[in-house]
């Protein structure tokens, strides 16, 4: 499986990565090589094998629905790129 520039641009968009035309060419080449490595997986028949998502298959714990963390809004917002009146600022989304 090799990727072309158009596919790379589409993947980059899904991944929210801005890439230039030149980068798209370079990524098409390296990503295709990596996919070549990955496709060695096809050498093994895995029909009927249960997928393993995690080494700890005992399942995830539940916890009580209780407040355990203190409010640290000011501390967290101190490291934000832009805040105003306790809110995070981003470019306008709704006209």
């Amino acid at each position: 499986m090799s990727l072309d520039r158009e596919q790379v641009r589409k993947i980059a968009h899904l991944a929210r990565l801005h890439i230039t035309e030149q980068e798209a060419v370079a990524y098409a080449e390296t990503l295709s090589r990596i996919l070549g490595l990955i496709e060695q997986m096809n050498a093994v028949d895995t029909a009927g094998v249960a997928p393993m998502a995690h080494p700890n298959e005992a399942g995830l714990r539940l916890r009580a629905d209780a407040v355990t963390e203190p409010n640290q809004r000011e501390k967290f917002q101190k490291i934000a790129p832009a805040v105003e009146a306790g809110l995070y600022l981003v470019p306008k989304v709704i006209e």
């Binding site: 990727l3 790379v8 993947i11 980059a12 968009h13 899904l14 991944a15 929210r16 990565l17 801005h18 890439i19 990524y27 390296t30 990503l31 090589r33 990596i34 996919l35 070549g36 490595l37 990955i38 496709e39 060695q40 997986m41 096809n42 050498a43 093994v44 895995t46 094998v49 249960a50 997928p51 393993m52 998502a53 995690h54 080494p55 700890n56 995830l60 714990r61 916890r63 640290q72 501390k75 967290f76 101190k78 490291i79 934000a80 790129p81 832009a82 995070y88 981003v90 470019p91 306008k92 989304v93």
Partner: protein, 484 residues
């Protein structure tokens, strides 16, 4: 003082032969003297010395534990309240962590001193510590060589005696491979043994933090502090933590060592193979039995990993968007453009490659062929280990197929770089504990590491086996030239 182990320093501190402040100064001076290694991203002497002062007061009150006053370097992947925490990336170049990772909290409670934050491959994605935004780390055993990665800053720091011990994290070999390339003792615990809370996530089903030290005894001391159940990590396992130093002295007579034939075939450098065979010979002298085993699916570990790890990374790294913390691009038109430009400018090439591979593997129409297939292979790889452990107690082999390679040698060829982790990755896929211990030197003078793999939650046995070997050999005591 700088050449003493954690165990020795711990005794010297409690006997008041040296104060933590004096000791911390010794290491801070060495960090400064050898700053060309680029082992650290951040040092903050004022903060470190304040911790040392508090440790000295605690020792004076007679309330010292094993690690009180001991300086330890922390990989820059662990959030530490008030410390710049970059994970080797530009996107976190201005990120002062607002909270402590669980293991940082545990080290603080134990009274150890944070010596600084060590350099690493960006987001732990790499095997050479060359992908860091903060520059390449050099190997003290040959400064034109890589120290391995991703925990290469921690490895270089401990090998050069800039710190008595450090933490690392291991997703596909990132503790064991740098330990091997710099002649250290490194332990990747079983998945779920050490909390991942506050450890910046790369691949959540594989990541595990652990100690990087000069001896197995020191690894046991650090693991005593690091291990344990944490309700804040949903994958933390609620198993009691034994005192890992207690079982170090046990006899290993009759121990069954499994040698996977796949780990001694094509691709392994002859120089490395010879050192590993000599180390196995030493274990025979200690009374161990050798059993040949097979891990038939191990050759598929790399392709399997390079689907699963990037898939998890593409999801984990979606949080870096420039909205609430970290770097934000200067020029953008709208919200989408802000995300895309922030991430394009903030991430390096290898991180972008992995995000894109992961995004592709998870995208509509490709999920079954890549992600599901890789998860099925993961099961087969884990089953190989289960079968092997029916006839042996510990698996041994090389940690890395070669000694440390030249800086720049593989940086333009991601596929060649990925093959450096051929012997370590399957252990992460199965979730098992693994170690690398110094086993000798190749004719070129570069260190070779022996890998030990244990059953799930069998860290105590691995440490015991490693300790017995270190009592019979002195490879772990060698110091790189120029750092004596």
């Amino acid at each position: 003082m700088f050449n003493k182990t954690v165990a020795e320093l711990s005794r010297a501190l409690r006997r008041k032969e040296i104060s933590s402040v004096e000791l911390t100064r010794v290491f801070l001076e060495r960090i400064n003297k050898y700053k060309d290694l680029n082992a650290f991203i951040t040092v903050d002497p004022e903060r470190s010395l304040a911790q040392a002062k508090a440790a000295d007061a605690r020792i004076a009150r007679g309330q010292a534990g094993a690690l009180t006053g001991v300086p330890i370097a922390q990989k820059d992947i662990f959030c530490a309240d008030g410390w710049l925490t970059t994970c080797g990336s530009k996107i976190l170049s201005n990120f002062t962590a607002p909270y402590d990772a669980t293991i940082i909290e545990k080290f603080n409670k134990a009274g150890s001193v944070c010596l600084g934050k060590t350099n690493m491959d960006e987001f732990a994605m790499g095997s050479s510590s060359e992908t860091s935004y903060y520059g390449v780390v050099k190997n003290p055993w040959g400064t034109d060589k890589v120290p391995g990665g991703s925990s290469g800053g921690s490895a270089a720091a401990v090998a050069a005696r800039l710190a008595p011990a450090a933490t690392g994290t291991d997703t596909g070999g990132s503790i064991r491979q740098p330990a091997s390339l710099t002649s250290l003792t490194g332990l990747k615990p079983s998945y779920g043994r050490v909390s991942r809370y506050g450890m910046i996530a790369f691949a959540s089903s594989l990541d595990q933090g652990g100690p990087m030290c000069r001896t197995a005894e020191d690894c046991a001391l650090l693991l005593n502090t690091m291990a344990g159940f944490d309700p804040r990590d949903s994958t933390s396992v609620d198993e009691p933590v034994p005192d890992y130093t207690k079982s170090l002295g046990q006899e290993i007579k009759g121990l069954r060592i499994g040698l996977p034939k796949e780990y001694f075939s094509a691709g392994l450098s002859q120089d490395v193979a010879q050192v590993i065979q000599a180390a196995i010979g030493e274990f025979k002298k200690l009374g161990a039995q050798i059993v040949e085993i097979s891990l038939p699916n191990s050759r598929l570990a790399i392709p399997c990993y390079y689907v699963l790890a990037p898939a998890e990374a593409s999801s984990n790294l979606s949080r870096f968007d420039g909205a609430r913390y970290g770097y934000r691009a200067k020029d953008y038109t709208d919200l989408l453009d802000m995300y895309c430009k922030t991430r394009a400018e903030g991430f390096g090439a290898e991180v972008k490659r992995r995000i894109m591979i992961g995004t592709y593997a998870l995208s509509a129409g490709y999920y079954d062929a890549y992600y599901l297939k890789a998860q099925q292979l993961r099961r087969l790889i884990a089953q190989d280990f289960e079968r092997a452990f029916q006839s042996c107690d510990v698996i041994m082999g090389p940690t890395s197929p070669t000694t440390a390679f030249k800086i720049g040698e593989k940086s333009d060829d991601p596929v060649a770089m990925y093959l450096s982790d051929i012997y370590t990755i399957s252990v992460n896929l199965a979730g098992l504990p693994g170690m690398s211990i110094p086993a000798g030197f190749a004719p070129d003078g570069l260190p070779v590491g022996l890998q030990l793999v244990g059953r799930y939650f069998d860290e105590a046995r691995l440490l015991n086996v490693a300790h017995r070997y270190q009592q019979a050999t002195d490879w772990h005591k060698r110091i790189p030239k120029g750092f004596e």
